[in-house]
Amino acid sequence: MNCYFLMEGQKTEKQVYSAWMGYLFPGIQRRERLEDLQGNSYFMLAGHGYPFGERQINQAVMDVNRHGDIQHFFICVDAEDEDVEQKRLFITEQASRYKPLVQPVVVIANCCIETWFLGNQKMIVQDPALGSRLGRLRKNYDVMTLDPELMPKPENSLSARARFHYWYLVAAMKENGFFTLKVIRAW
């Protein structure tokens, strides 16, 4: 089985999907190049936050068609502030224009991959410290009891909803004593 992943996101998505692939298909190998895909392997390419759209989807379809031995083709994007099903339809239509020999599976994080992490209740401290950022955030919207995918951004906030979800996750990780490099830089 060979799989091809095109991702809108950055390093996080590649790391997370790679870990999942290892759990789901023990023994599967990640390959560095398209032409190295053979046997039981997968290839990933991420947009790293640079403009992502039809051009990259077209190029991915060309890759999949040219290779000829790819069984699963995934396009992984964030819904951000868009409707999930509309986004799925939009991406599918974009891909169809280039006649993929393998129909892509469009995976949409609603609203971003950090939202998924907020759904992991083991990540969230039950009783955050008094006055902590996580405590304040949970008072406004508690991801332990409410669906993170439905969490709006604070009123009057000018930043994107996905950004707010990211900061919520950072607060949760900080409360848990986790500091990823990305988090430290962001703080």
Binding site: K11, E32, L34, E35, Y50, A60
Partner: protein, 351 residues
Amino acid sequence: MGILSFSYEDYSGWKLHEMSLGGMNLLVGHSGAGKTKILRALQTICQSAGKQPKLVSSSWSIKIRIDGNYYSWNAQVESDLGSGHFLAETVLLNDKELLFRQVDGAVSRFKGDALPKLSNSFSVLALLDNEDEISPLLNVFNGIVFVDNFNNNYYIDVPSGSFSSFEELRLTVAENLYNRVYFMNKYFPDEFNLVGSQFIEIFPTVKSIMVMEIFQYWSLNIVEQGVDNVISVRESSSGMYKTLMFLFELHLVPPGSVILLDEIENSLGVNCLDQVVSAAMERAGEVQFVLTSHHPYVINNIPHKYWKLVRRHGSEVTVVDATEIRALNTASSHDRFMQLLNAPEFEEGIS
């Protein structure tokens, strides 16, 4: 003629392992990896070589090819507040010792013969520049142009000088760019107008570029359609200003020069980035370029064989040719820039 390779270490322990250079070099890599410091290291070497040196504690080895001859200049400099001196220097010509000096041991040799004691405040290149084997080497360092943000005043003192040929003007590469632009307009208006038409191609609303003199001052101005007054280039947008000055710089450098330019995309919109990169590519070959960029447009438009990936581990910096990055040697249809971002060597970045 050109720099083939160099290595460098500064007083803080920042160390660049030997990196090779070709005619066109686009340094890519994470912010903080050391791209700008590489340009500054070259600038420091260049400033140490000349007759008005600025010396800072550092050591380097630089290899240069001049007309089929291979030079290697190795030096060690020590400095404290405001003053510096050379501790040791060697110059090899085609792998044989040409010059050697060890300041502490007071030993100096040129072509095997002992030399009298030399000032350690100057490089041997500056001290012995009348020697036939040395002067071409010093000329290389005089021809390294570090393109900065072209700051200058609205009105500039009119310089004095005359030139019998454009090539002669080009050879004054160490001079202030504005003075050279002034002389270009005065003595070689056809060359000046060539740059003007290049600029108008990029900014079609511009009608002409003109020099105005008022008493002992002069200014460089733009005449634009729909704009009543002539405006000084210093009052124009930073993108227009940078584009124009870069085009002048490109036109004025003589063959054999080295242009260092950090983040070529700064201030440049998509309406001019393409032409500025193309103008640089057109002179690549006779002029050596060392550029840095983070911009997908710039990176995608310079063939990946010219990319050099800069990585840093602690204070040690290594540079690898993109042609040696396996993930880039692929038939994938994706843009090279995207392939670069996904290459394990790029992701490693800083550790």
